[in-house]
């Protein structure tokens, strides 16, 4: 088999591994980073399929702008969390007993970000 055919098969297997690996990232940041590498492998695959236009566009857009937008969303969400903490302190609910009975699980909004 030609060398390009072997490289193509290896890259395709890596692609599936990356796509499955996004599910098993423990936090959202890990998922975004694995997605970035998935995009980069896709870019090389476009070169092997003899389409250089698609390769440049995928590199700039997939591994560039799209992943950066994901990370910026994470940053905005973190900022909102900080704001909620400030509100919490202002509302006078800094007492741990009160916090525990106000929200049954400690860090209810955290499980939204890092869990699942």
């Amino acid at each position: 088999m030609a060398l390009t055919k072997i490289a193509e098969i290896i890259l395709l297997i890596l692609l599936v591994v990356c796509a499955v690996g996004v599910n098993f990232g423990k936090s959202l940041l890990q998922a975004v980073i694995i997605f970035m590498s998935y995009s980069s492998i896709m870019c090389i695959l476009w070169v092997l399929l003899e389409s250089p236009d698609l390769a440049i566009t995928e590199a700039a857009v997939g591994a560039g702008v799209s992943s950066v937008l994901f990370m910026l969303t994470l940053r905005r969400i973190h900022t909102e969390d900080l704001r909620m903490e400030a509100l919490q302190q202002e509302a006078g609910m800094s007492d741990p007993v009160q916090i525990a009975e106000a929200s049954q699980e400690e860090g209810s909004s955290e499980s939204g970000i890092t869990g699942e």
């Binding site: 236009d53 700039a60 910026l72 905005r76 704001r83 400030a86 509100l87 509302a91 106000a102």
Partner: protein, 323 residues
């Protein structure tokens, strides 16, 4: 060792008092920076207590009620996904063989490849297809980009009419000020090395759309990435000189308008059976391909503005400067 003698200090003009609502001091003093029409809005305190009460109730509900449904849902999801992949793989096995030319898929392409150079003047056949033979698709797609930028603006814009309370963007603005005061030197160095290369490469790919691989979308995306790196490393004051709100609007408006008018002539020439006399030039020169070069520039500018606009809106809530 000092390879580059880089001076990154941006001369900051003094801001007259009371005019920059960005300043932390204005917000921390507790003054209201908006005149909101919602005079009857509840205070933050009540809002928070209400939210906490409903969260507690909702979590209790979800935990106690949904166990059976969860099991059912996941099993059905697994079965349906396996079925979907199996069905599609079964269809793949009936497809014609990969990598072998089959006449069903290359019947239309004969015309594009064999007469492409004479009819469009472009050496890159793909550019000739998307900007000459099928130019309306690209026109619609540029409008899709612009519409996406408008949608994100509607959702994420924060200006003086929009801030709800003084806490609304406190942390966003605090992060911005921190970032402007203490910019990291690794980022600055890498950006100083990469930025001229990126902008040059983006302009090269954009202008050589008809000769070599590239074109409007690729060049625009690379240019947009260059602008993003500039804003991320050197703060937004460095890009506020180039892209302001007015500039972004003007670029999008004129580019899309020019594209629409430039490809509107085919309605007249095609309907009346006229030839189009736009010169095609010699293939391989940079000024060739008829209208492909100006259209490339128009599309590339729209794409670059859109990418940078997304970054700017996510980061600080406005495209070019605030208030």
């Amino acid at each position: 060792m000092k390879i580059f003698d880089l001076n990154f200090d941006v001369e900051e003009e003094p801001i007259p008092d009371g005019e920059d609502h960005d300043l932390l001091e204005n917000i921390m003093d507790g003054e209201e920076v908006h005149d909101s029409p919602r005079e009857k809005v509840k205070t933050e305190n009540e809002y928070y207590r209400n939210y906490v009460r409903s969260t507690q109730w909702v979590q209790k509900l979800i935990r106690t009620e949904n166990k059976g449904f969860n099991v059912f849902y996941f099993s059905v999801a697994v079965v349906s996904c396996v079925l979907l992949i199996g069905m599609l793989l079964f269809t793949i096995s009936y497809l014609p063989r990969y990598g072998v030319e089959n006449p069903e898929s290359t019947l239309v392409v004969k015309r594009y490849v064999e007469n492409g150079l004479q009819e469009t003047g472009a050496v890159n056949i793909i550019s000739g297809i998307i900007l000459d033979y099928r130019a309306f698709d690209t026109l619609g797609e540029s409008h899709v980009l612009f519409t996406a930028l408008m949608c994100v603006t509607v959702l994420l814009l924060r200006d003086s009419k929009n801030m709800r309370t003084q806490y609304e963007d406190f942390y966003t603005i605090r992060d911005e000020k921190y970032h402007e005061l203490y910019r990291e030197s690794i980022m600055k160095f890498v950006a100083a090395v990469l930025l001229p290369c990126l902008l040059l490469y983006g302009a090269y790919v954009l202008l050589n759309g008809q000769i070599s691989p590239g074109g409007g979308f690729s060049g625009g995306a690379v240019l947009g990435s260059g602008l993003i790196i500039c804003a991320a490393a050197f703060g937004f004051r460095s890009t506020d000189r180039v892209i302001t709100r007015k500039t972004a609007n003007l670029i999008a408006f004129f580019s899309l308008g020019f594209y629409s008018f430039a490809k509107g002539y085919v309605f007249f020439t095609g309907a009346n059976g006229l030839e189009n006399h736009i010169p095609k030039g010699t293939p391989g020169a940079i000024l060739s391909g008829g209208l492909i070069l100006p259209l490339d520039i128009a599309v590339g500018l729209v794409v670059a503005t859109t990418m940078f606009g997304f970054y700017s809106l996510f980061r600080r809530g406005s495209i070019g400067g605030n208030k």
